[in-house]
Symmetry: C2
Subunit: 706 residues, 2 copies
């Protein structure tokens, strides 16, 4: 498979360098037309590789690898808030071992006065906080004692704990059976730490003259990752998106000074449920996130300033300790990063990177990663692995997205020597790099053709978490919204994101509004739907011609006469157990709509005029309800496939596909007189363009002059 | 299959008489040793049948068949409260057609002043009631007008409607395509109606001298059954157990006078969800139910007094217009009924009848009903039907229960001539009648042996709805509690029922407490679990040695740190979406516990000490958690089978079965020196008794002297 475009330009490709494999590195750099070589965390490029003429990216993790300083200043370490394991009172007093169940390698109790004054103890049976006079903490035993307990009530304490082992290195350490010293991590909330880190970066820049780009991996605070002390429950809590690992008594003080009101430990513990990215957030937590983003951006700007002062560029790799950096948030631009690097399996991830308007360089790190094993421990560069197939599969998804919205670079990561037994992989990457450069150059020549259809996705997060549901597709494939984002990522339409706070003005000029997600989720909005004003403005917008598409439990909120708050527009509602006595409207499907969307139990019509576009014979799968000049459309679920994406297009009022084949996307570059056909299918497909029928190879890519 | 008991006594059997089939009736009466002949609704026995010497039951439906009087006094008809179909305001005013969507053959609007003053209009988008000054009703158009609506909000009105067609006759009429006059129904809330009905019953008794038992079918108010006007949605709301068809402005006035506070229409409409039997009820609705039971019992007592004054007995058939009679409720005894008749498919229904302590005669009407078609329209006495197989299957279930707790009579209903082509059915009934009399006589000789194990079932209803979840087993086979009741119905243990109001004293002396049901259901208790006192007393009782068995979502209530409020005792909790980020304890099953209980997604351990008795490898199915001297046991679900019943016995601390075979129940009558073995299996089974191994035929019944 060769691109039909013969003249392909160079560059736009980052290769990971590997010392001791200089010849291989240089050979592959030539094959893949790489213009950048990067080191990996904890490795250094050899002089041979540094003098190739390629640009050099150097990776740093700014808050880690300062154990000497951290040991001298243990109170500058990072913290979190933990909830002690809920304990049952049998009598009138109770002793609680605060760290019971938690990894004592990861945590130690912060027993300082500024910490203990913020602790809270709760009767979890009643939900009420105990007065601080009813409990005390004994540092010697590590036990908290409560007086005046009610027998059989359950109690727990919220307290600050030091995080004494940086979590990413902890993970690598444990996974690889390392025995070396545990790496600690510093909290830049303290001015002393900020000064220390600025000095350190200054020296680093001086000692790395060949580095042209400092690749931050990432910034200061990791996503939350709480480990247990029992092998039967190693993971206690993991969430890619919550800010629990940025908190400290100092952060509480700074918040109070800045916002004028106080946070409590329980705001973060939230009855033990914390505040995961996928759930709705209280106003206080949203304020805290914004506050943390401002702080992270402010200090990151200082660091980027130092990098720039040495004539180097600063890129950020968006992963791991990314908390507060939010590439599509309000403050990212103020940092001044020159580039954003995102690792991608899917189209929506490419769009997340491409959507960031404040960097010059958008770079995608493709998969597979050059590592012996891949997803779920499957073989990749080891026996039974087919890395070339993985590469083409992921690329076909990503390519679909970058045909609509360009990025500037691609690259690989990991250990280059692993490619040695896999010549097909080397060929595949050569082809991918060429296809990428073709797409990049077409975008440089002219805009890609797009429908005049503006689509708005409504979530609690809005633009700050545009094009993401908090992780890779394979981590939560059952989420309706991530599937919808993947479908949208390759569509020739204009896609934007908004939060509930931005309604109604955000709706102006949009044709389609999408809401998807489960009850209480940040995706569907939860309590936001209590606001009648939200319901009024969306209803009015539909009445005037808008198309409102709701999936799953979107708009659901209990306490009202319908479970779906937009039921009157959608013409459907969800049945809960309360409604089992009600008779349902017969479900009579319409011919012609593809059966690619799965029905859901307990979806019922509320209006006999609601059109059932598809159903399983008992429950509706897709419905359409006329409302004034617009429509309310309900999809019981959404799982991405080329066919379901075509169905979504038709629900938005477009043709199912440009090519007559949902597996073959066509991107038209009118000013260049060229179109690109790209197949997502692993087998040969037939498609048509401008009335001409053509075949395309598995995962094929064709540039078609017209 | 003959009973091994040769000498069988007579009687205890009620045969439905059929005029024009006198010879057949008399022949079958002899075969089945019937001692009672009954008429059916709307039929009269012929003189030949009346003079057989058998006792005669005559059926009356007291509130129906008085059309002449009802036409003269239309304001004495029964009523209900309806909610108008929710309507969307597009502007500042809105007109609502109150009866839109409802059957106008069943309902007409009660436009009297005493009715309209009680109507309520709601903004369903905000959940707020509108002031009565903002709406008015125009009788001529049947439209209600609202001023000052908010565009795109949804509005509905709660109003009183006459029920102008008695629902059971409506159903028979529509089903059978009748063209005769619609039967109306009277509301005995009015003293004039009560006087009229007493007079009528007086005359009826005089004109029916041969009747020895007046069989009331049933009393005054039907269960709720709301019909629509669209063939695509014939049923709008049906519930066997809610009191909606007993309400009227007069009932509201009487309630105020008796209880000292007022009811509102919205108490009954409840955001359109009404108050179905299976959901938790507000205190007001519970007060209303109690108030209605008092009224129904009081007037029923007057009627029974009239029957008794003619030397006749009064039995009640517990079905259809049964509202307020509640055979195991507080007021039933005061009526003075001599007998209770219950139609049965299952064991728990037999126990419901047997549990009523205030009647002399407990009679079961067996299935199949003598009608061409049976459950779900399946053939019974028509081509392809095997009524003898149905009869043995249902009997084997009922027999299991009456081995534990006796009833006094059995009988059949329907059209006797249908048996003509089914000699095997006639044989089967002969055998059933003989087995029944054997069991009846054994119970008369001595008590059946029972374990010293006292089991308490906790629901919102408590004793008032002992041994029922509001309908036949096949109507909601997925309900955990109905399955548990069916299992308990044939166990040699003492079973009682209690409500939350009766805790903690109700726990005294009990060994096992069972709670089962979905969130918010009357079975699991819903809001009752907000009361920390309930949690404390059950916890304390377990601590002292009690066994608490929870199934499904029992004890679930949102708003606290756990979803299951008894999580600390059970050692498990349910995950909702909020907890997706939490790591779970490994599920390691124990050998030996039968895999007869299905696991449920989202059940998680909260204590590593919780024992997993069975699981599907990912989610627990049955767990046991030591708590003091007792246990918290959680079953993710429960579906009745002989094997799951054996598992439930072992969870309660008993052997799985007396016979070594869960399909074969053994009831021991020590004073008689006899045991009964009864098989629920449709094939031959082997069992053991007193160390002796024996075979038993399909659905077999053996009396074993020992």
């Amino acid at each position: 498979m060769k691109s039909s475009e013969d003249a392909v330009s160079d560059g736009g490709f980052t290769i990971p360098g590997e010392s001791s494999y200089e010849e291989l590195t240089l050979d592959l750099a030539r094959r893949w037309k790489a213009d950048v070589i990067r080191d990996s965390d904890g490795t250094e490029l050899s002089p041979e590789l540094l003098k190739t003429g390629m640009e050099v990216y150097s990776t740093i993790c700014i808050i880690r690898d300062h154990n000497e300083y951290a040991l001298q200043h243990p109170s500058f370490q990072q913290q979190t808030i933990l909830e002690s394991r809920p304990s049952i009172a049998r009598g009138r007093s109770l002793e609680i071992d605060l760290l019971a169940g938690y990894s004592r390698e990861q945590f130690s109790v912060n027993t300082s006065a500024e910490s203990v004054r913020l602790w809270q103890v709760f009767d979890r049976t009643t939900g009420k906080e105990l007065p601080s006079s009813s409990w005390s903490y004994d540092e010697a035993s590590g036990k908290l004692s409560i007086d005046g307990t009610v027998p059989y009530h359950v109690y727990s304490a919220d307290f600050f704990a030091w995080r004494i082992w940086e979590e990413i290195s902890m993970y690598n350490h444990v996974t690889n059976g390392w025995t070396k010293e545990h790496l600690m991590q510093l909290d830049p909330r303290y001015p002393e730490v900020r000064r220390y880190l600025c000095d350190w970066l200054d020296k680093w820049c001086i000692s790395h003259p060949r580095t042209s780009v400092v690749r931050f991996t990432s910034l200061f605070y990791n996503f939350v990752w709480i480990w247990g002390d029992d092998s039967r429950r190693r993971d206690i809590f993991t969430d890619w998106g919550s800010y629990d690992f940025s908190v400290s008594p100092r952060a509480f003080d700074d918040f109070k000074a800045e916002m004028g009101y106080s946070l409590e430990c329980e705001d973060f513990i939230n009855q033990g449920r914390r505040n995961p990215n996928h759930m709705t957030h209280s106003r206080k937590i949203r304020d805290y996130i914004d506050f943390t983003c401002r702080f992270v951006s402010s200090f990151a700007k200082d660091l980027v300033g130092i990098v720039h002062s040495y004539g180097k560029k600063a890129y950020v790799f968006y992963d791991d300790s990314w908390i507060g950096l939010e590439p599509n948030g309000r403050y990212f631009q103020s940092i001044g990063f020159d580039g954003l690097i995102k690792c991608v399996f899917s189209g929506f991830e490419a769009r997340l990177c491409a959507a960031c308007e404040s960097v010059d360089v958008h770079e995608l790190r493709l998969h597979p990663y050059l590592f012996p094993t891949g997803l779920g421990g499957a073989p990749t560069f080891s026996e039974g692995g087919h890395p070339e197939e993985d590469a083409m599969l992921y690329w076909s998804r990503v390519r679909r997205a970058i045909l609509r919205k360009p990025v500037d670079r691609i690259g690989l990561g990991g250990y280059l020597h692993l490619t040695e037994g896999y010549p097909e992989f080397v060929d595949a990457v050569e082809q991918i790099a060429d296809e990428f450069r073709t797409i990049r150059d077409l975008h440089r020549e002219s805009d890609v053709l797009s429908y005049d259809k503006k689509v708005l996705v409504l979530t609690e997060w809005g633009r700050i978490r545009a094009w993401t549901c908090g992780g890779h597709y394979h981590e939560h494939p059952d989420l309706d919204l991530i599937n919808i984002l993947e479908a949208l990522s390759g569509m020739p339409v204009n896609v934007s994101f908004c939060s509930f706070d931005e309604l109604p003005s955000a709706l102006d000029g949009y044709d389609v509004l999408i809401s998807a997600g489960t009850e209480h989720s940040a995706w569907s909005g939860g309590e936001a739907w209590a606001d009648a004003g939200i319901i009024e403005c969306i209803s009015s917008w539909v009445d005037r011609g808008g198309v409102f598409i709701a999936a799953g439990q979107a708009t659901m909120l209990r306490g009202y006469s319908t479970l779906l708050r937009m039921s009157h527009v959608l013409g459907v509602d969800l049945l809960d157990d309360r409604r089992l006595c009600e008779g349902r409207w017969d479900v009579q499907g319409r011919e012609g709509f593809p059966a690619v969307i799965q029905a859901l139990e307990h979806v019922v019509l509320t209006d006999p005029e609601t059109e059932i576009l598809s159903s399983d014979g008992i429950w509706p799968a897709v419905t359409r309800h006329g409302f004034g000049k617009g429509y309310g459309i309900y999809a019981a679920s959404f799982r991405y496939s080329p066919e379901s994406a075509a169905a979504l297009r038709s629900l938005m009022g477009l043709d199912g596909s440009e090519s007559g084949n949902p597996c073959v996307d066509i991107a038209v570059f009118p000013a260049s007189g060229k179109a690109v056909a790209a197949s997502q299918s692993g087998k040969e497909e037939v498609f048509s363009f401008h009335g001409r029928s053509m075949a395309i190879k598995p995962y094929g890519f064709e540039v078609i002059p017209f």
